[in-house]
Every structure is written in C-alpha cells, then in structure tokens.
C-alpha cells in the first residue's frame, strides 16, 4: 500500500511519538499501551486511505496531507459563551475543548442515577476492566484514520447503562476547539445493557482555524436495548473532520441515528451498523454543502441474523462549487432471512457547479428478504416555484422555502423539541439563502 506523502506524524521521530503516546490518558494500563503502539505501527505502514481505495475514491484526503496537523498536548481555551449557547437544558453535558475534557464546563452529576456517564479517561481509571472488554470490540480499525485514532485518542465519552434501566435525560457531548493545526483524536464508548435505553447528542463546533478532528465511536446495544444518537457537525470552514461510528445491535435492540452536517471543509462520516436477530436501525441524515465544502457520508449496514430491519434516509443539498457524497451499502448475510431494508437518498442540486456523488449498494446472500433503495438527484421543481411566486413570494424566497421543505423532513424526525429547534437554527444559518421565517414554522 502506498505511504501517504504527508501525514500528521511524519515529522516526529519514534522517540517523539512514544513520548506523545506516554502523555495520553490510560497509558498506565498495559493493554492500552500495547494497543496504541500496535495501532501506531499499523498507521505508519498504511498512512491515510487515498483515491486508490474504492471506498475513498471521492474523498480528497490529499487536502489533509497539504496541512501540517499535529497532536496537541493542551487545549486553547475558547469563549465559554459559545459553548453555553449550544447547551441543551436538563442534559448531562460533557464539554471537550481540542479533545480535552473540561470538568468546569460540564454537568455530569449522575449520583442520583444508576448509570455511568463520564469521560473516557475517568472510566479508564475507575472501570478499566469494563473498558478493556468493550473498547475496540466492534471497531474494526479498517482504515488509516482509525489506526491514527487508536494510536492517539486521549479522551471522549463513556456511557454505561445497566440492564433494565432507562436514562430519560439526554447525554450531550460538545466538542469545541480553536487550536490552529491541531490534530484531535477522540474516542466514544457507549454500552447499553439488556433492556436499557439512552439518548445521546454530539455537537461539533469550532472557529475557522485549520484543524483535523478524527473521532471513533463504538455503541454496543445488548438484547432489547435502545440507543438514539444525534450528531450535529457544524465546525468552521477550515475544519477537516473524520468520524467513524460502529454500532452493534443484539437481539431486538434498536438504534436511531441522525447525522446533520453543515460545517467543515472536508468531512467524512463512516457509519457501520451490525444487526442482530430482530434488531432495528434507523439512520437519517441531512447534509448541506456550500462554497467548496466536501461532505461525504458512508453507511454500511450488515444484516447478520434473521428478521432485522434497517431504514435509511439521507438527504444532500449542494450549492456553489461544493460536493456531497453518499455511499450506502446494505449487506444481507446468508442467515439473515426476513430482512426488511429500505434506503433512500434524495439529493438537491442548487447550482450548476455543485456535485453530488451517490452510490447505493445492496449485497444480498439470503433469498427471503425485502430490500428497496431509491436515489434521486434533482433541482427545485419549476411548477412549485411558479406556484409560490403566483402567491406573491419573490423568486429568492420561493427557492428558499422549497429548499427548506426538502430538508425539513429529516429535521422533523428529531424527537426532542429543543434539539429540533437547535438543528433548525443551524440549518437556517447555513442556508443557501436566508429568508425563512422561523417564527412562522
């Protein structure tokens, strides 16, 4: 495999790299130190995936290599008002700045609750065995960014919900940052035991300094457990964001995953879901790209056992000279009879220079399944535009309303009213035009 021409660690000697790793949380645990060293050597072998990898052919990882991103050893503090503005009331909140946990800005008092919600570094101290058992149990480290994350992750979210426990209040993770040229590796681990449930929100914000955020999330749902995950990525326009999510659903477990992508220069989300018997997953997403943004969503859902269902609705809106990519692959293994799967990817092009790449795939090795997929790429409908103009709305507003209407379906999917209005605000800020009246909605 070809070695990347430049990557975040190329200027470091082996001693320096070992020294960097020694400063990471949890290095007192031999198993973790060993895994990190192994991952580092794997990364040095593979580098970043590039155009020659079929799964990465649309993702211009070379743009990352043009920068000189480096691991950071301490955060640059950010305006706390920006963070407070993103808080969700009543949520357990964990704030990370440049990947470093900020206890003063966080709110995670769970003393009255029979659950563990904390940062991963604390969990490595308090529950090392639990972390050792589950960490990397489903992450398959299938590309260079994952190796890089495994080698350098310092902190992240840790959730453990015991069996027969429903955590009703949401868990909100806010990632903020402002250190220029920082490479930030974060790791989340969510364990939902049998018949438990939790609801997680992850918000990514940053200023306009160049940065690379590389996140890996593992979510493990035991029998009948239910996890809802909402990702809101709204980083600055020089942010490079790579996110890999692995979810494993045991018998009759359920996952609802919403991915909203508005910010970032280059964003790549890999979402991998493994389905057990009668498990259900629903993935919905909205991506809005403008200027010369590139946002790439890759879903891979594996039906391993019978009677599971997967529903995918990913919408892209691309304006200016931006590009949005969707690749969705549903794999139905030979034992996964009575699979029910539906994947839909509607795309809206707002400019002649914008690009949409979409590649839905079905790999079916069972014979008794229901699998459907649909892709559309189109512009705003002329008849609807004329209708709105004939009702007195100027063309600009009419285009705006129709674009909003296209996006709205994915936002209406959000159950929490507060989160819904937060995402709505984000959408309207990043909107191609700006005439939608929120107070009328």
């Amino acid at each position: 495999m070809e070695m990347a021409t430049q990557n975040p660690i190329q200027h470091f000697s082996t001693d320096q790299l070992n020294h960097l790793q020694d400063q990471l949380n949890g290095m007192h645990l031999p198993w973790l130190a060993e895994r990190r060293q192994h991952a580092l050597s794997r990364f040095i072998e593979t580098g970043f995936p590039g155009r020659k990898h079929e799964e990465w052919r649309y993702t211009p990882t070379r743009d990352i290599e043009k920068h000189d991103f480096k691991p950071v050893t301490s955060p640059t503090l950010v305006d706390t008002n920006v963070i407070l503005k993103h808080q969700i009331s009543n949520a357990l909140t964990l704030v990370f700045v440049d990947g470093f946990f900020q206890p003063d800005l966080s709110r995670i008092d769970t003393s009255a609750l029979p659950v563990t919600v904390t940062n991963l570094a604390s969990a490595l101290d308090q529950f090392p065995d639990l972390v050792e058992t589950h960490l990397d149990s489903i992450n398959q480290n299938h590309h260079g960014f994952c190796y890089l994350n495994s080698a350098f992750f310092n902190d992240g979210l840790f959730v453990h919900i015991p069996e027969f426990t429903a955590l009703d209040i949401p868990i909100h993770v806010i990632h903020a940052g402002s250190t220029s040229d920082a490479m930030i590796s974060t790791r989340n681990l969510v364990i939902a035991e049998q018949d438990s449930s939790c609801h997680i929100i992850e918000t990514w914000i940053s200023n306009d300094t160049p940065r690379l955020t590389n996140s890996v999330t593992e979510m493990i749902a035991a029998d009948n457990a239910r996890i809802e995950m909402n990702n809101i990525q709204d980083q600055g326009n020089n942010s490079y964001h790579i996110s890999t999510t692995w979810s494993q659903l045991a018998n009759s477990a359920q996952l609802t995953h919403h991915g909203f992508n508005f910010g970032g220069q280059l964003v790549r989300n890999d979402i991998n879901t493994l389905l057990g018997n009668n498990a259900k997953c629903r993935h919905s997403g909205l991506t809005v790209t403008r200027h010369n943004q590139h946002i790439d969503n890759h879903l891979r859902i594996e039906h391993l056992y019978p009677e599971a269902s997967s529903q995918v609705l990913y919408k892209n809106i691309a304006d200016d000279k931006s590009r949005a990519v969707f690749q969705g692959c549903i794999v139905v293994h030979k034992d996964a009879q009575q699979t029910d799967s539906n994947m839909s990817n509607p795309n809206l092009l707002l400019s002649n220079d914008a690009i949409i790449n979409t590649k839905p795939q079905l790999q079916i090795d069972a014979d008794d399944v229901q699998c459907a997929h649909g892709v559309t790429v189109g512009e705003l409908e002329q008849s609807a535009l004329f209708f709105l103009r004939s009702r007195g709305l100027d063309e600009h507003t009419a285009r705006n309303i129709l674009t909003f209407a296209f996006a709205n379906e994915t936002i209406q999917d959000i159950t929490s009213t507060e989160l819904k209005s937060m995402v709505l605000d984000k959408l309207l800020t990043h909107f191609p035009q700006s005439a939608i009246r929120v107070d009328w909605l």
């Binding site: 004939s390 007195g392 009328w440």
Partner: protein, 253 residues
C-alpha cells in the same frame, strides 16, 4: 380593470393564442369556455406570467399598467390571483406557512405591515370555516394527500385570504363532485363585489349555473369566436362546440 389586446402567445414555439381581445371591468364575472386545446389554460398562465408561455404580439394592461412587464409575484401583489387547474403539492411546507408567507408578502407590498400571529390565525380559521375546510388541513403540507376536491377548496381558501382584485380561475371545477362544486361556487360568490372581477375558465356549464357570470366567451383555436350571456353556455351545453368551430370570428366581449 383588465384589457387584453390582440394577444398572441406560443408554447414551445407552437402558436396557441392567435389574437385574443377581452376587456374586463371591475365587478364583472367573465366565463371563458371552449374545447380542449383552444387556449383556455394558456390564457390563464399568460395572465399569471408563467415561464414558457411566450407573448409575441399584443398587450395586456391591468389597472392601466403593462401586466406583461411584471414578474409573476408582482402581478399577484398588484391584485391578480390565479387558481390552478392542477394545484401543486409541496411536501415539507405547511399550508399555514405558505398562506402566512403569501399574505404577508402582499400586505407588505400594500404597505399594511405583517399580520400578527393571533390575527392571522383568527382570519385563516374563519375563512377555512366558511369554505368548509377542516382546520387540520391548515397544518398539513400544501396539497399533500389532499383529494381533488380538497385541493380546489384550498385554492379558494388562498383566494379568500389574499383578497385579489382580479381572480383568474383555471378549470377550478374539474374533478369536483356536486357538494365540492357547491362549496367552491359559494366561495367564489362570497367574494363577488363591485371592486372585484373574475375570469373563470371552464369546460362545463354546471359551475356557471351557480355563479351566473355576466359574460360568456367561447375560445376556439386561440381566439374568442363568440361572446354572449349565460344563454350562450346553455347553447353550448345543448349543441357542443362543433357549431362554433365553423362559425366566423365573432364579436369580442
């Protein structure tokens, strides 16, 4: 109010309107009838300013202004309203939002300022009640999942909300059962006033029985070939359009 002079229009370079002349004064109700392909809907779309309907000869003045110079939204703000034969569905936009956006755009144009949320709600609920429209339709996406009759009643609701000066209805009666037709006709009659004029495009006489227009025009091959009163509609009902098409160009209304 409306003065159409020698209007010629093409669609995809095909001549559809071949010299229409029509004068409509405030308070009048004009019906335009005619066989399929005679140019009825084209006339309505040309009045509303739809792209793809190219006027290559003639003039239309609306309250003394050149209508053809105006963008579609400017025509509406100036007081023209088109009721569609096939109302479009807009998933993701609620009826309420569309009505509020439309009404406020027009009010701003008139210098009246936006209607506040409470007054708007009161107004729209009252109009919906008058048109026998279930309140829940207001909160549904524009025309999505509406039956044919519900879509047409929704057009009448928009008309009632926007209070236009000149109403152009394009086959508002197509696809309506008798009950829905009565509701639509009542909606139109309720808006009749000495200040307001109507141009009603229709295939059938049954709507006209409820509305009793002042003038009936017959359109054929892009021209008005005969004009008269409601009795002309009766003649058409009895004899069809065959006798008209062979008739020489008639007087204009």
């Amino acid at each position: 109010m409306l003065d159409i002079q020698n209007l010629h229009a093409t669609v995809n370079d095909k001549p559809i309107l071949n010299g229409i002349n029509l004068q409509v004064n405030a308070g009048e109700v004009h019906a335009i009838m005619g066989p399929n392909g005679s140019g009825k809907s084209t006339t309505a779309y040309v009045l509303a300013g739809r792209d793809g309907y190219d006027v290559n000869q003639g003039h239309i003045s609306f309250e003394g202004k050149n209508l053809l110079d105006m963008e579609p939204e400017i025509r509406t703000r100036a007081g023209l309203f088109l009721g569609f034969q096939y109302p479009v569905e807009i998933p993701g936009v609620s009826n309420m939002y569309m009505l509020k956006a439309a009404l406020n755009a027009i009010r701003m144009h008139r210098g009246e300022g936006e209607l506040d949320a409470i007054d708007f709600l009161q107004l729209v609920k009252q109009k919906a009640r008058e048109l026998n429209i279930d309140e829940k339709f207001l909160y549904r996406d524009v025309n999505v999942g509406f039956s044919g009759g519900e879509k047409k009643r929704n057009e009448i609701l928009q008309m009632a909300m926007l209070e236009p000066k000149l109403v152009v209805l394009d086959e508002i009666d197509s696809g309506l059962d008798i009950d829905a037709l009565k509701v639509v006709a009542d909606g139109i009659n309720a808006l009749r006033s000495p200040e307001r004029a109507f141009v009603i495009v229709t295939h059938y006489k049954r709507l006209l029985d409820y509305i009793q227009p002042d003038f009936v025009h017959v359109l054929s091959e892009g021209r008005i070939v005969k004009s008269g009163n409601i009795s002309l509609a009766d003649e058409l009902e009895e004899q069809g359009y065959g006798w008209i098409e062979t008739a020489p160009t008639g007087t204009d209304g």
